[in-house]
């Protein structure tokens, strides 16, 4: 019974923890501008993150070591540093976006300006990381994040024209209305980047070490990933659908978090809005915890410092200091008045640019007998991994030209 409960808890937290500010904003922007014509990208992104998350979890469980330790050892200091630099900077950008997301969500709940909430959110994230056990922080934010199921409920309450929605799912010409092919592909790359954000695999892999996974835990980790992440992806799709049903016909292009909420208000009224706001806060707070921890994990693992929440803070001082500095930088950037939604939009595109640097090393290590023994990737996993490596590289190379040509999707 305890095992079943543990399994259910793992799956539920994986669902609730899947969506972050990048998914909230990008899914809604895309739904409000392209309807459901880009849903296929969410599906592709979710398959990709499943493949690489379970791969990185397996590497951690078999080798007993986290991603960056092995990347530096296996690929050398220079390649390891390139990987670290790209991942750390993208992670910092994502952390800034998540803290901004918490502030915007709390503004929606209280109408108090985000400049008040930014320092409050940063201190709260630091306090939780400092004081709360790893499993507790992961489970509580993941479970509260399930409040975003309200978007799936809203889809049904809106009584959409299912046939018309189904028609939008079919691959269509990238030129629609006033949208150009460059804008379509720019948002395809952004959506892909938001589904495959690098911090997710670092957090997953380091979390495996935090929770002392062994090869015996691989079954549960596979179930968490292969059931939890796709269902989390369904929430992203639901956000897109609500925007496609309510905002697209009124030509409302999403540029702020408050607009993401309007379809839920139309579908379910005040109660639904309150539940969605709880989901917003949980999703952004949970992701802020994960990105803050990931910034500490990546730097500490590369430089060989003691790390992990399983150690008392005094014994992992540089790991904790890195996280504090990350939070101070993130909050500082936000306090300059920069729009958190714009940071989010750029962070998902820059994530896409850095994807090969994150995922190629994982694929190489998962094929290395020295680390993995007989648990190296099978042929099928390698084939899927290679296909995704190709897609990731295409997205990474195309991202900046598309950003320039489409004027960042405007």
């Amino acid at each position: 019974m305890k095992g079943v409960l543990g399994l259910a808890l793992g799956v539920l937290t994986a669902i609730g923890g899947f969506v972050d500010i990048g998914d909230l904003v990008t899914s809604s922007v895309v739904g409000s501008r392209f309807g459901l014509t880009l849903v296929w990208v969410i599906v592709v992104g979710v398959v990709g993150i499943c493949v690489f998350a379970q791969m990185s979890g397996r590497v951690a469980a078999i080798s007993g070591r986290a991603t960056f330790e092995i990347i530096r050892e296996r690929l050398g200091a220079r390649v390891g540093f390139a990987n670290l630099a790209a991942s750390f900077l993208i992670n910092l950008m994502t952390l800034t976006a998540e803290v901004g997301g918490i502030a915007l969500s709390l503004q929606l709940a209280t109408s108090i300006q985000p400049t008040f909430w930014i320092p409050v959110a940063a201190v709260a994230v630091w306090l939780v990381i400092w004081r709360v056990k790893f499993s507790l922080l992961e489970n509580v934010t993941g479970l509260l994040g399930l409040a975003l199921v309200v978007f799936a409920v809203a889809v049904f309450l809106l009584h959409p024209d299912w046939k018309a929605l189904g028609g939008q799912l079919l691959l269509q010409s990238p030129s629609q209305g006033s949208e150009t092919p460059a804008t379509y592909w720019y948002f395809a790359v952004a959506l892909f980047g938001s589904a495959m954000t690098p911090y997710e695999v670092f957090f997953f892999s380091s979390g495996a070490i935090e929770e002392h996974w062994t090869p015996k835990d691989l079954g549960q980790s596979r179930i968490n990933v292969l059931i939890g992440f796709p269902l989390g992806g369904v929430l992203s799709i639901a956000i897109s659908v609500t925007a496609a049903v309510v905002l697209l016909p009124q030509q409302i292009q999403v540029t702020s978090l408050s607009q993401v909420l309007l379809p839920v208000a139309q579908a379910g009224g005040t109660i639904a809005v309150i539940v969605a706001l709880l989901g917003f806060v949980a999703a952004t707070f949970g992701a802020a915890l994960e990105t803050t921890l990931s910034s500490g994990y990546s730097l500490a693992q590369y430089f060989g410092w003691p790390w992990g929440k399983f150690r008392p803070p005094a014994k992992a001082a540089r790991f904790h200091l890195t996280m504090i500095i990350g939070l101070v930088i993130g909050a500082g950037v936000l306090l300059t008045g920069v729009d958190p939604v714009q940071i989010t939009e750029y962070s998902v595109v820059f994530s896409a640019i850095a994807l090969p640097l994150t995922y190629l090393p994982i694929l190489i290590i998962a094929n290395d007998h020295d680390y993995m023994g007989d648990q190296v990737n099978g042929r099928a996993t390698n084939l899927v991994g290679l296909v995704f490596l190709g897609i990731i590289t295409i997205a990474s190379i195309a991202a900046i030209p598309l950003m320039i040509v489409s004027a960042a999707g405007s």
Partner: protein
């Protein structure tokens, strides 16, 4: 003997993907940077914001949106319209485009005035008929802005 950090299979996949990525990234050209493209974009943004205000006002009037979320949504619209106003005011265009810029700015300022009115109505918990009248005017303004944007886009 130096060993390349990446295996041959990884290098082949990356090389092929780089070519495909370059093709995708450089395919197509956007008018987003032309003066008329920028004006059309401002008109389209302002239209979307005005339409957002209309929807927010209706949801607030029917008690479907709590007041903090209503205040925030209307405040976001005010900020974005203000940004569009200043970018249009400072746009350096002449002739036909300047006339278009003035028309867009005129409609946008109508939208801004209506938004001020809408915020007063929300603050005063005004009746459904009064808020619906303002929502309709916001919607009409949004449509005019959208049409102006489309005309600019069509004329290139």
């Amino acid at each position: 003997m130096s060993v390349h950090p990446f295996p041959a299979w990884a290098r082949r996949v990356i090389a092929t993907a780089v070519v495909a990525g370059v093709c995708l990234g450089t395919a197509g050209c956007s008018p987003a940077y032309s003066p008329s493209g920028r004006l059309a974009q401002s008109a389209s943004d302002a239209s979307a914001q005005t339409q957002t205000a209309a929807l927010t006002l209706r949801l607030a009037a029917s008690q479907q949106l709590p007041s903090p979320a209503t205040d925030t949504a209307l405040s976001d619209v005010t900020d974005k319209l203000g940004q569009d106003d200043s970018s249009l005011t400072s746009a350096d265009v002449s002739g036909r485009l300047d006339a278009a810029r003035r028309r867009i700015l005129d409609r946008l300022r109508v939208g801004e005035d209506l938004l001020v009115h809408a915020r007063v109505l929300v603050g005063a918990n005004a009746g459904a008929a009064e808020t619906e009248a303002v929502a309709r005017r916001l919607q009409a303004t949004a449509k005019q802005l959208s049409t102006l944007g489309q005309q600019l886009q069509a004329s290139g």
